[in-house]
């Protein structure tokens, strides 16, 4: 009886054993036997237009580990290598001519593209290679640099972080929070927008070079803010590279990027610090914390006369710096401030929209989605040709400011009070 059942089971065991042999494709990889690429750089390759220059930033796991068994503190934290390749998948094997361990894209955080390459007609073709590489996750981010990806990676000496993966993770995360760079725009969104061909995609704009053109405030691009530090070649990230139909067409400043974040419902609601004009003192600025309050309401009117777009942007404003005005205690002051901020933001929006109409003839606000609602069928919408019509459209933006609840504020004396006492 027992023997019989054992015989019965042994047949099953054989089947399982055969199954193990059949599996064949063993994608088992020892964790320590791989070289992890944290960032890929993509540049134009001048000598051959059919190739690209690929740069790798490979993390060294031994640096920054203070545990027993680890080690190698004298080794560099990361290695940058650049070489021409046909695509980023075969680039792996080319890199292995120098790197001992097989290259893995499992830890890839960011793709860095040179501005020149991004503005190339064929750029999108090269970028589509990433979709065919299973190790590249579609949620990685894209950074556009003017000086070239290889140069950026080689010059990039972050001030406080040694380990490169940590640096990129932190800088991306913090960029999202401050709204200085467009948040949550990954490769997947890039392809989706490029394929639809009607809206614009915003990638992060950064550089290690310092621009001669110096600005203050938020109306800057990366490299334009006069920060003084002893370390040379500091990377900075501000503003956005705007892509239309898979090709880079424009650079937005940090403030413009923020306007897009405020207006475009597809971006997550980001809380950012900003400065606005002080309605009570012309020379002064007030610090405020702003975020979109709910969703932007977009109304399209395409069927009567000139096509019109009406946008209502609700913004929640929290005054951070009262500048001795004691705004919280006066209803009239609050009202004045509210009107002033609404006015200012409407002007900002209007200016930016005019710019998009003139320069790129495309918009980054995701309006094509809202435009579809104005038509009964998709063919009707397509016949309308939204993009062609956009530069001639009449866009009116109304900003609705809701002043945040300040809570109890300590009263500051007026300037006059202080002077009189003296």
């Amino acid at each position: 009886m027992f023997k019989q059942s054992l015989h019965h089971y042994s047949k099953h065991l054989w089947i399982i054993f055969v199954l193990i042999l059949l599996t064949g494709c063993w994608d088992q990889q020892e964790i320590s036997k791989q070289a992890y690429v944290v960032a890929i750089g993509m540049d134009k390759y001048e000598k051959n237009p059919n190739k690209i220059k690929v740069s790798y930033l490979i993390a060294n796991p031994d640096v920054g580990q203070a545990s027993t068994g680890g080690g190698g503190q004298s080794e560099p934290p990361a290695v940058v290598m650049s070489f021409p390749a046909n695509d980023i998948t075969t680039a792996k094997d080319i890199a292995n001519m120098e790197v001992a361990k097989p290259i893995s894209y499992d830890m890839l955080k960011i793709i860095i593209v040179s501005e020149e390459f991004a503005r190339d007609e064929n750029f999108v073709k090269w970028l589509y290679d990433t979709t065919k590489e299973p190790e590249i996750k579609m949620d990685i981010r894209m950074l556009v640099v003017p000086e070239g990806a290889a140069a950026f990676l080689n010059r990039n000496k972050p001030i406080l972080e040694t380990r490169p993966h940590e640096y990129y993770e932190l800088i991306l995360r913090h960029g999202d929070v401050t709204g200085l760079v467009p948040p949550t725009d990954d490769l997947l969104t890039f392809f989706r927008i490029a394929e639809a061909g009607e809206d614009m995609f915003l990638a992060i704009y950064g550089t290690t070079t310092e621009s001669d053109e110096k600005h203050t405030d938020f109306n800057v691009k990366a490299g334009e803010l006069p920060i003084q530090a002893k370390v040379k070649d500091r990377p900075s990230y501000a503003g956005a590279a705007a892509f239309f139909q898979g090709k880079m067409v424009d650079i937005y400043t940090a403030e413009e990027a923020r306007l897009v974040i405020l207006m475009n419902n597809t971006y997550a609601d980001t809380t950012m610090l900003d400065t606005v004009n002080d309605p009570f003192n012309k020379d002064n600025k007030l610090a405020v914390q702003i975020h979109r309050n709910g969703i932007t309401n977009t109304k399209m009117d395409f069927h009567k006369g000139k096509p019109r777009i009406k946008v209502k942007v609700p913004i929640n404003v929290q005054i951070v710096n009262h500048s001795m005005h004691n705004i919280s205690y006066s209803a009239s002051k609050r009202h004045t401030l509210k009107r002033s901020i609404e006015q200012e933001f409407q002007e900002r929006f209007q200016k930016f929209i005019d710019k998009t109409k003139e320069e790129t003839k495309a918009q980054p606000f995701g309006w094509s989605l809202a435009a579809r609602k104005a038509f009964a069928t998709i063919p009707a919408y397509e016949a309308f040709r939204f993009n062609k019509q956009y530069p001639d459209m009449e866009v009116s933006v109304t900003v609705e400011v809701i002043l945040g609840q300040d809570g109890r504020q300590n009263k500051t004396p007026t300037m006059q009070d202080l002077r009189d006492k003296k």
Binding site: Y36, G69, H165
Partner: protein, 502 residues
């Protein structure tokens, strides 16, 4: 030799199993001397040193008599005071033997076999001249432990006493908790030669008759010479002998037994077993602890939550580590990935072998600590801790993260108290590790599905093993317990005669 053994085996089948006096008279003689010599030959007197025959004269009856007993299992103080003294000093006319004796239980018996059984169980047989029946006076005294503290299933809050090796004491401990005439302790002899007895304890107005009949028939169908302990009996009566998981709860706590008796379970008690067997048992029975209901509602459920967590850690922690580091590297956050990669860098073994090495070392240390004599056991654990914790890492044979993983999952495996379930979980863990090492998370998922299918297919005395979770039978006391006030139903899967607890 082998031939000899075979012949013994076949002989065994021919010769009747009972050791009774096959060519001896079945009932005793009226001649005292003949009776004495009969029992002397039966017990191989004088080779058998503790078999005693005491001649005595009873003045009241004016007759010669003999006391036959085994002195190592009888209470000699009672024998002297209650029997020898009473019989030989009193001189009353018209007094019967019953009047003279002060022992608590006296029975008359003519059958030699039954008298032998009585003597074997610690009774004294009294034969009187010219009388065709003997008297069996029960004064047994088997040596054993006192009621001790529970050592394997300790609780902080709640009763501390545990069963010992004397069945009578164990039943007394249960009766102390359930003072009810419906609590029945039924006795069945299970083995032919050693005559071991099993007590089936149940509450007769609760227990499901069908279940009881099933238990009775399984026990009485056992055909063997000796079953000394409940753990052996368990293997005779369990549903499937090959199964990984225990289908009966083996507990040393009388409070647990009483609690489950009140729910309609059946408890088996036996001499020489410091535990009892409770049946039927489901997966959750092993997972629960009596302390759950001693602790307050929140605390009791918190400990259960910890136990679930421990169960999952011990089953899957090592397996997930292997799966992720070998197949799904992209799932690890970069900092951790580089930390693992950095420490793994100098380790010569592949991650899978490294983990298996540590797991096996851990099992060895555990087994060594368990089997080593008490004075040596601490040394085993110190040496083990040194080898595993320090030296293996310093020698770059093991990476520190594997030490953490093996130690944590090993530690968590101790939280499942029942030894059979504990071993089942440990075996399952190795299955998980192998599956994960071969096929990553896919393999792990497959083995988990297979395991759950297997567990669900099990039955304990007709009760589905995963009940009441699946099949869903209310009330469901599985992951968490309810308030005692709201706990009004007995487990549905037991099909008790009385469903409610109030």
């Amino acid at each position: 030799m082998i031939k000899n053994r075979k012949s013994i085996k076949t002989n065994k089948n021919i010769v009747p199993k009972k050791t009774g006096p096959t060519n001896q008279p079945t009932s005793i003689h009226s001649d005292l001397q003949k009776n004495i010599s009969l029992f002397k030959t039966l017990y191989s007197y004088p080779t058998n040193a503790d078999f005693k025959v005491r001649d005595i004269f009873i003045p009241s009856l004016q007759k010669q008599a003999a006391l036959v007993y085994i002195d190592t299992i009888t209470d000699t103080v009672l024998l002297e005071r209650g029997i020898i003294h009473s019989l030989s000093t009193q001189n009353r006319e018209d007094a019967t033997v019953q009047d003279l004796l002060t022992t608590q239980s006296i029975s008359t018996e003519m059958n030699v076999e039954k008298i032998t059984t009585g003597i074997n169980n610690g009774s004294v047989a009294l034969f009187i001249e010219e009388s065709d029946h003997g008297y069996i006076l029960q004064i047994p005294k088997f040596e054993g432990r006192q009621v001790d503290k529970a050592e394997n299933e300790t609780t902080v809050k709640g009763p501390q006493e545990a069963f010992n090796e004397i069945a009578a004491t164990n039943i007394s401990l249960i009766r102390k908790r359930i003072k009810n005439e419906h609590l029945i302790a039924e006795s069945i002899t299970v083995s032919k030669r050693a005559e071991n007895k099993v007590s089936i304890v149940y509450v007769n107005n609760l227990v499901n008759e069908q279940l009881l009949e099933d238990v009775r028939s399984r026990i009485s169908s056992i055909d063997t010479d000796a079953i000394h302990t409940l753990s052996q009996l368990e293997q005779y009566i369990e549903d499937r002998s090959l199964t990984l998981f225990p289908t009966m709860l083996y507990t040393e706590r009388p409070d647990r037994a009483a609690m489950l008796l009140e729910d309609g379970h059946i408890v088996l008690v036996m001499d020489n077993s410091p535990d009892c067997l409770i049946l039927p048992a489901t997966f959750w029975t092993f997972f629960h602890s009596p302390e759950d209901s001693y602790l307050r509602f929140t605390s009791g459920n918190f400990t259960r939550l910890i136990r679930i967590l421990a169960l999952f850690i011990t089953l899957f922690f090592s397996a997930i580590y292997i799966a992720i580091t070998n197949f799904h590297v992209e799932m690890i956050p970069p900092d951790l990935l580089l930390a693992i990669a950095s420490t793994r860098d100098k380790v010569p073994l592949p991650a899978f072998l490294e983990l298996i090495l540590m797991e096996v070392a851990f099992e060895l240390i555990r087994e060594a600590g368990l089997r080593a004599p008490t004075p040596i056991a601490p040394m085993a654990s110190i040496v083990g801790a040194l080898i595993i914790g320090q030296s293996a890492v310093q020698a770059n044979i093991i990476s520190p993260i594997v030490v953490i993983i093996v130690a944590l999952s090993g530690l968590c495996s101790f939280i499942i108290g029942d030894i059979s379930m504990n071993i089942a979980i440990r075996i399952t863990r190795f299955l998980c590790i192998f599956a994960a090492g071969l096929f990553g998370l896919f393999g792990l998922t497959a083995i988990v599905v297979a395991e759950i299918t297997y567990i669900v297919s099990l039955k304990s005395f007709g009760t589905p093993y995963f009940a009441p979770l699946t099949p869903k039978i209310l009330p469901t006391g599985t992951y968490f317990r309810t308030f005692l006030q709201k706990d009004i139903f007995r487990p549905g899967y037991l099909k008790t005669k009385d469903i409610t607890k109030r």
